[in-house]
């Protein structure tokens, strides 16, 4: 089954961009919510993560906070 991947990000956040680049490099399909603009997505992010900081990444219901290549690879089942 494919991974369900969602990222909550802001356009000015370099760690968000790095995470998205990591997804692209590894052909990971993801949904991107710009929480600077989208108030509903911001609420959703806060509820899921109890975090007021980006990026928040949801991989099949598991939450990663911040840019963490090792954690992303692990949850996505990527081989190094």
């Amino acid at each position: 089954m494919p991974n369900k991947v969602t990222i909550y990000s802001t356009p000015t956040c370099v760690y968000c961009n790095m995470t998205k680049e990591f997804f692209k490099k590894n052909s990971v399909v993801y949904e991107d919510h710009n929480v600077a603009e989208d108030d509903d997505a911001r609420e959703e992010m806060i509820n899921k993560s109890q975090q007021l900081g980006v990026p928040v990444i949801d991989i099949n219901g598991k939450i990663i906070i911040g840019y963490d290549e090792a954690a992303l690879s692990k949850l996505l089942g990527l081989k190094k």
Binding site: T10, P11, T12, C13, V14, Y15, C16, N17, M18, V35, A36, R42, Q50, Q51, L52, G53, V54, P55, I65, E69, K80
Partner: protein, 306 residues
């Protein structure tokens, strides 16, 4: 086995890597990410040769410049976790389990952000206490926030926040701002920014998220409270000198003491950039210092082989 291991991928590390490759020194460079502290800067305006550039773009340019060099090994996405002496050489353990050896070491590992270290600081990190202003400022649209720190980073953070927050308190420990006059002017002119001088943060208050800040107003000698939703911390940084502290001399600030002519810091060890006792912590200066180090390493190698 390498001749030279460079630890760090900020301006100093990348500059050193480029020079070392061109000097055909057998080199490995180890870094978790590229770009150094300016990575998160919204707009860098003092990088000579670029009138205005985003930190992210600057980091990409640096990485690209390094990656086109031939004959340098780059280990990115990993940290050097331990350095030991192994005979005449250094043995480096990496966070991915790898180990490697090098004759000479150049550390350009920079510094990490200084934390507030007051009650509530840790508890509310990511819950209103912010260390990456450009990342999270947009989340504080219509909110009241405080920025702690009257240096360049604090001023830039406060100015950036004027696009989002309705009110920004800028808390300054001393009686004056320290940042560049051009930023001071912008901050003092903004109607949204209120500067509170001689203030010392004492406690972050909140429930699930930040709701306020207790601080000591040193002028009135009175503890006061601000109601707010976010605290942006921009109070400088601490050198990452721990990794090689056994092989060099460290001053009271935690900086590696270097010879300013050669950047030499110990036997077969050089250091450059913000991890050192360089007087001015600047991207442009870090690069120059790292280049001095590589040229001195090159001379050392060639003296040795004569």
């Amino acid at each position: 086995m390498y001749e030279l291991a460079i630890i760090g991928g900020g301006p100093a590390g990348v500059a050193a890597g480029v020079y070392a490759a061109r000097k055909k020194i057998k080199t490995v460079l180890i870094t978790d990410i590229f770009g150094g502290q300016s990575l998160v800067s919204e707009d860098v305006q003092n990088w000579i040769g670029e009138i205005s550039i985003r930190g992210e773009k600057l980091a990409k340019n640096m990485e690209a410049h390094l990656r086109v060099q031939e004959g340098i090994d780059i280990k990115s996405g990993v940290l050097a976790s331990a350095v030991k002496k192994f005979g005449d050489n250094f043995s480096l353990s990496l966070s991915n389990g790898e180990t490697l050896e090098a004759k000479y070491l150049l550390t350009t590992v920079g510094s990490k952000r200084r934390k507030l270290n007051i009650p509530g600081d840790q508890k509310f990190e990511g819950k209103g206490v912010v260390y990456c202003s450009t990342c999270d400022a947009p989340l504080f649209k219509g909110k009241t926030v405080a920025v702690v720190g009257g240096g360049n980073a604090g001023l830039e953070s406060a100015i950036d926040l004027t696009h989002y927050a309705t009110k920004i308190y800028l808390l300054v420990r001393s009686g004056a701002l320290r940042g560049d006059p051009i930023s001071q002017e912008k901050a003092t002119k903004s109607e949204k920014i209120e500067i509170l001088y001689n203030c010392e943060p004492k406690e972050i208050l909140g429930d699930m998220f930040v709701r306020g800040l207790k601080y000591l107003d040193k002028t009135a000698n009175e503890t006061k409270e601000l109601k707010l939703d976010g605290v942006f911390v921009e109070i400088g940084s601490i050198p990452n000198s721990d990794l090689i502290k056994d092989f060099v001399k460290i001053n009271e600030k935690g900086e590696i003491i270097t010879d300013p002519r050669t950047q030499k810091a110990g036997e077969n060890i050089w250091a450059a950039g913000d991890v050192t006792d360089v007087l001015y912590k600047q991207n442009n200066i870090s690069m120059g210092d790292a280049i001095k180090a590589v040229l001195n390493i090159y001379e050392t190698i060639h003296k040795g082989s004569k």
